[in-house]
């Protein structure tokens, strides 16, 4: 059973839809007891960083997620804002993040004269894989993924970097460290490429 953490932000139905398509059972929940039983976690989210952290704390999910991920080593996949919440913090807000991976979330600084890089960054991108990963096992050729974001991630430990994307500059679009994974894009909206990735998360971790 895959547990999709519901903290009031983002389009959780789409993730459940895709998991259903690949034959994986999942549930959307903000129940501490259900989360404490989870064998795999997905931390989704679309929206503002501080809202995300505050909601998680108000729902009493901050401690249990820390325990699950850091002590029980439950595999977790952060998606979009969910990935950003895994970092130390974001320029978008003042709340600290989980800090499970030594990384920071920064605001895109795009020259306003350079119109070809509009913000939010919205669209499909190819990615460059930085290391071997079970998440990308058997991936189709030239995988592309759908992105929507105004903030990007940099990793302080290069060995945590899994995928990089170029938009105005290079940034980390996927990270992996032990049981902790995150992707900036939306696999649930990225056709067969995202489907393969979620399938790998379900089957290989």
């Amino acid at each position: 059973m895959i547990t999709i953490v519901d903290y009031g932000l983002g389009n959780l139905g789409s993730i459940k839809n895709m998991l259903k398509k690949i034959g994986a059972d999942s549930e959307i929940t903000s129940d501490v007891n259900v989360i404490s039983q989870a064998t795999k976690l997905i931390l989704p989210g679309v929206g503002a960083f501080d809202n995300g952290m505050k909601n998680l704390k108000e729902l009493g999910l901050f401690e249990i997620l820390n325990k699950k991920v850091l002590e029980d080593k439950t595999p977790v996949l952060g998606i979009c804002l969910g990935m950003q919440l895994i970092t130390n913090g974001s320029e978008e807000g003042i709340e600290p993040g989980f800090g499970w991976i030594d990384a920071n979330t920064l605001k895109f600084k795009v020259n306003t004269n350079e119109r070809k890089f509009s913000i939010p960054h919205m669209g499909w991108e190819y990615v460059q894989q930085q290391k071997e990963s079970k998440l990308l096992e058997g991936m189709f050729e030239e995988p592309k993924y759908y992105f929507v974001h105004s903030y990007y991630i940099t990793c302080n430990q290069p060995e945590d970097e899994l995928l990089k994307t170029h938009y105005s500059h290079d940034y980390v679009s996927g990270f992996e460290k032990g049981n902790i994974l995150g992707v900036q894009f939306h696999p649930e909206k990225s056709h067969k490429y995202g489907m393969k990735m979620l399938k790998n998360f379900v089957e290989n971790y």
Binding site: N11, G13, S14, N17, S118, G123, S190, M195
Partner: protein, 254 residues
Amino acid sequence: MSITRVIPVLLLKNAGLVKTTQFKDPKYIGDPLNAVKIFNEKEVDELIFLDILATPEKKKIPLQFLEQVAQECFMPLAYGGGIKTVDEIREILKVGVEKVIINTQAVENKDFIREAVARHGSSTIGVSIDVRKNFWGKYEVYTHGGRNNTKLDPVKFAVEMDQIGVGELMINSIDRDGTMKGYDCDLIKKITSEVGMPVIACGGAGTIDDFAQAVNEGGASAVAAGSMFVFHGKHRAVLISYPDQMDLKRIFNT
């Protein structure tokens, strides 16, 4: 640089899929869910649904339909038509659509747009600007499915939307709609040179070369089309299609 998004725009009228010419004469195309399945198989970049009667006839938002669509396709979805409140947006997002497109209310109620951006985030809120040239060649913004001339200047209106924090603009040329004679690149260019957010060009696409022109000359971030993806040949026989990915890669140099 992103891969340029190529987006089919599907017009809903009651429960059917239709295609208009210059926002008039909706021609029945078929069952929308069937079209969605075909577009999903063809791995289209994104789909936009617009309910053309929602505002003029004060229809309810087709949530059940949107929910069925969201379960069928694994690509970004946007819906526009008759949206007036942030709660309606929440309902739309809940069924699995990621973006909404607002037209009439963006002109009539700017506080609503501000609230929508604050509540749901820029990237969720798109505004479509329907534009027609008047007798003197001046561009004017229309609402209510092209029925109401606001006399607003589309460039000024676009800049205002940019300042409010809208995530994306769709520029729809009423004059070019359904004609397949190419985009109004002058109009697109005027707007893309004044705003920082992504702009989707819409209205008039007939060939993939038109896409390249909207991007290279117009500065569009994405291109949308209707007729080109639902009609085939000079007699406009109904046939759902989508350009070959290799051809798109070639024209956009990606």
